[in-house]
């Protein structure tokens, strides 16, 4: 009797298969072709805390907006400030251990984060970079990269110097780090524009510390080079620290300051005239696109290796115009 049933199913299994395939086809036909809102688990590892740092606050906000469209959330984690590369590496490994579907990473160190990113890929985790990529894009484990085109942004910054400072003047460049991919790009961009025209001092690497320390470092540099006519800063808190150093040295109006990114403090300096101009990024868009493209990847769609979210020049005159207001004042309350 058992044999008989076995034989029966042996004979009919092609029909069963056809039935199943038919059901699957029907299913495929009537399911919306758009991605299904799977609740993917996505962990974002940023460079710094969202607490009080407008840039990372906006990135996280953008990430949440994109995830919200798919009824998901993004778990944002970061070291407290941008000097803690080891801490960020730890955070990435910890995230890998939690086996999320994807990790969105802003690399504090373009070289040292390659290994953790590889480990994530090896664990079957999708890796998308935001803001700062890994070194050697061709071979790196990153699957996509959403950021400002930092070389272009650096060139914008360089143009600001050319517009404001007499040729041949001595110029100080301040960067929080020379290891982050975004900063390397900006520096390259700035130097490409100003290198021949001005007397550019070796870049002051402040070592990722926050404003107070930068204030002292820049003050020292100003003391060492009293003939500096312009300071070019490559991120928000080096700009703030440099502004304080200029005011501290009573050099307002004498030293032209151009910077990168914005904060309430920097806007005050802009309105005051202590800060001449800043190049700002679109962190909200960056966060939004990084999550949107990650979900695309998870849904099996093809994505570009790089998305440029653009950069904008802000001076005192265009602070309160349309888009700029939104970029400069991300906190609604």
């Amino acid at each position: 009797m058992h044999k008989k049933i076995d034989r029966l199913f042996l004979f009919y299994w092609p029909w069963l298969l056809i039935g199943l395939v038919l059901s699957a086809l029907l299913t495929g036909l009537f399911l919306p072709l758009r991605p299904r809102p799977y609740p993917y688990r996505i962990i974002a590892v940023g460079k710094a805390s969202t607490q009080g740092i407008a840039f990372w606050y906006s990135i996280a906000e953008g990430m949440a907006a994109a995830a919200g469209e798919f009824q998901m959330t993004v778990d944002y984690r970061s070291p407290d400030d941008e000097s803690e590369v080891d801490r960020q590496i730890d955070i990435v490994y910890q995230a890998i251990a939690e086996k999320p579907d994807a990790i969105i990473l802003a690399a504090l160190d373009a070289d040292r984060l390659v290994e953790p990113a590889r480990a994530a890929r090896a664990a079957g985790i999708t890796v998308v970079m935001v803001d700062s990529a890994l070194a050697d894009v061709e071979k790196s484990p990153q699957q996509s990269f959403v950021a400002t085109n930092n070389v272009l942004a650096g060139q914008q910054l360089g143009e600001l110097v050319i517009q404001r400072v007499r040729p041949g003047a001595k110029i100080l460049m301040v960067s929080p780090s020379t290891r982050g991919d975004s900063l390397i790009g900006r520096e390259t961009g700035v130097r490409a524009v100003i290198q021949g025209t001005f007397d550019v001092l070796p870049t002051l690497d402040t070592g990722g510390q926050l404003s107070d320390d930068i204030y002292h470092q820049v003050s020292q540099a100003l003391a060492d080079h009293p003939d500096v006519e312009a300071i070019v800063c490559l991120n928000e808190y080096t700009t703030a620290g440099s502004a304080r150093a200029i005011r501290g040295a009573s050099l307002t109006g004498k030293v032209t300051l151009v910077g990168f990114d914005s904060s309430e403090e920097l806007i005050d300096y802009l309105e005051e005239g202590l800060l001449s101009a800043v190049v700002i990024q679109r962190p909200f868009n960056m966060g939004y696109l990084s999550v949107a493209r990650t979900i695309d990847l998870l849904n099996g769609r093809k994505v570009e290796p790089f998305y440029d979210t653009g950069s904008i020049v802000i001076t005192k005159d265009n602070i309160y115009t349309g888009e700029n207001q939104k970029l400069l004042f991300p906190f609604e309350d």
Partner: protein, 595 residues
């Protein structure tokens, strides 16, 4: 390997395709019905939502207008704004004036938490706010701002701004929506009133009320700028786009659907703002994968059940048919004992039973046919045996030789002629049934020969009822009886005997009697069993005749022997002359048939 059953395939496929067809209709139908329902619900919901948001926002804008109207008509405010005007009582100092107005403004903003700033700008640059210890920003002259210029140009009508960052207060950048109003004394501009509503009040209304489902709300101000949009930054940088062309600036709610996205819009009364709700029904349908999964699950479960049921049903139906078919094949190959053993009880079982009955009947028929065939052969052999024996031929020829040698020419001719006729009749391939007359003629030749041989010792008489002359009887049945009568009845007699042959009708039967007045049988031989064959050659002739008649006509007919042995009373049968002294009557009984 079991042979493929086409019937089962067709039953199985029919049920499979029927079910697949039903599912194929049912599934999309329910899906589209659900979708349709979802879209209707979504539209209703979006309109409801929009109505609520409109009411909430109008509450705040109208409140600001009310406050502005109250302040614009307030005598203290007017007095303060007129400033150097000589009509102002000099007893009240500017400081006192400002303190009174500031208290008034504080009272207003104190009851309304959402009013951030209430600032009264006097034309000469003096100002009063609702807040203590705040100053105006040193970096800007508010008179240079667009909002200020436009407010002045509006000639005392309230102007509602878009969402903006308030930048007149030193060290503060708050998101607000501002109502501004120029205050005139006839054509003379006295000052400007600025009321800032915390923008969070508006954005919270929009974001909280949309909340669930795939819907969101945005506000478009005059000049098409966005007052509020949950993803304003994405729209500014063209990462996302909005179908502004679908927005209707009407004071009643209007809905436009495009590509599954419902745009419902309504203009608020107190300002040139349009509130728009956007509901992506595609996403909503998509948001309920549970429904889809449930449908698929149900469909699959049904399909599986149907598959199993149709398999079972087709098997239940075709298995007995296969069994029947196998039995039939066995039967066809000659196994008459083949039986269909069908366990189910339905029409096919009945068919099986009928098949079994049929095989049984056929088996019986074949058996019967075989028996008949056997008997036929036996009968033919017996018929052969009934033919003239060589011994008789030898004796007759002896007689002829003897007659010829004694010169009895005539007798030789007669005897030879009779013998020839006898031989011809005996050897002829005539039918099994001949007329009584023909059989009598045949036996007459025989008797004639015998009479010539035995001379006076043998007398015979033949008597045929005219009615039975043409009746049919088995050929070569009479001769053995006559032969028997001669050899066993007459021959032992010294004085010779008489043989009587009578053919007559007895009811529906034909009787042909061969009677003699010979020695008769012994008492024990009287009941001569004709069924049992004996070793004595004499009675073989009688047995053969009896068997042949019974074979052809059945057990009711045959040969009857009655005899009176020596010392017994003579037979007194009707139709026989008692004087004839008949001792033995052998009768052939046959059904009376003529054709």
């Amino acid at each position: 390997m079991r042979r493929k059953s086409h019937l089962r395939d067709s039953i199985f496929l029919t049920s499979l395709f029927t079910i697949a067809g039903i599912l194929a209709v049912f599934f999309p139908l329910s899906y589209f019905l659900t979708t349709d329902l979802t879209e209707d619900n979504a539209r209703d919901y979006s309109r409801q939502l929009l109505g609520q948001i409109k009411n909430s926002i109008e509450f705040y804008t109208e409140e600001m207008i009310m406050v502005s109207e109250y302040l614009a008509g307030n005598p203290d405010v007017l007095l303060y704004l007129k400033g150097e005007n000589p009509l102002v009582p000099s007893s009240i100092s500017l400081y006192q004036q400002r303190a009174r107005i500031s208290a008034e403004l504080k009272a207003i903003s104190g009851t309304r938490q959402d009013l951030v700033n209430v600032i009264l700008f006097r034309e000469d640059g003096n100002f009063v706010t609702n807040r203590d210890h705040v100053g105006l920003t040193p970096y800007w002259d508010y008179r240079e701002f667009d909002w200020y210029k436009e407010t002045v140009a509006a000639k005392g009508l309230p102007r509602l701004s878009s969402s903006r960052v308030e930048n007149v207060i030193a060290g503060e950048h708050r998101w607000v929506v501002s109502l501004s109003r120029a205050i005139y004394d006839q054509d003379h501009l006295l000052g400007v009133l600025l009321i800032d509503l915390n923008f969070k009040t508006i954005s919270d209304i929009c974001s909280n009320l949309s909340g669930q489902t795939g819907a969101y709300v945005f506000i478009q101000g005059a000049n098409d700028e966005l007052v509020y949009h949950p993803q304003q930054r994405l729209i500014y940088s063209s990462v996302k786009s909005e179908r502004f062309d679908l927005i209707r600036r009407s004071e009643s709610i209007e809905s436009v659907t495009s590509d599954g996205i419902i745009y419902s819009s309504v203009k608020i009364q107190s300002a040139d703002w349009v509130i728009v709700s956007v509901t992506d029904t595609r996403q909503m349908v998509q948001v309920s994968p549970l429904v889809v999964v449930t449908y698929i699950g149900i469909a699959l479960v049904f399909a599986l059940i149907a598959l199993v049921v149709s398999l079972k049903a087709s098997k239940r139906l075709t298995d007995p048919i296969l069994e029947l078919k196998n039995s039939m094949q066995h039967f066809q190959q000659g196994d008459f004992d083949a039986k269909a053993e069908i366990t189910v009880t339905n029409e096919i079982a009945e068919l099986g039973e009928q098949f079994n009955t049929m095989t049984l009947q056929i088996k019986t028929l074949v058996e019967h046919e075989r028996l008949i065939e056997e008997q036929k052969r036996k009968s033919e052999i017996q018929a052969l045996q009934s033919q003239i024996r060589p011994h008789f031929l030898y004796n007759t020829l002896e007689s002829i030789i003897w007659m010829a040698s004694s010169g009895e020419q005539d007798k030789v001719v007669e005897m030879t002629s009779s013998l020839a006729k006898l031989m011809r009749a005996s050897a002829s391939k005539a039918r099994e049934l001949v007329t009584v007359q023909m059989e009598i003629d045949y036996v007459s030749h025989y008797l004639r020969i015998q009479k010539m041989r035995y001379q006076d010792k043998l007398q015979y008489e033949i008597e045929i009822d005219p009615g039975v002359q043409h009746a049919r009887m088995l050929r070569l049945t009479l001769q053995p009886l006559v032969e028997n009568a001669i050899y066993h009845g007459i021959k032992p007699l010294r004085d010779g005997g008489l043989i009587l042959i009578r053919a007559y009708r007895a009811g529906t039967e034909l009787h042909v009697d061969v009677a003699d007045n010979g020695v008769g049988f012994a008492p024990d031989a009287q009941s001569l069993s004709l069924e049992a064959s004996t070793d004595e050659g004499e009675s073989i002739g009688l047995h053969n005749v009896h068997d042949r008649i019974q074979l052809l006509f059945g057990k009711d007919f045959g040969v009857t022997v009655r005899s009176a042995g020596p010392g017994q009373d003579l037979l007194t049968e009707s139709g026989y002359d008692p004087a004839a002294g008949i001792r033995t009557i052998v009768s052939i009984r046959l059904p009376l048939v003529f054709e």
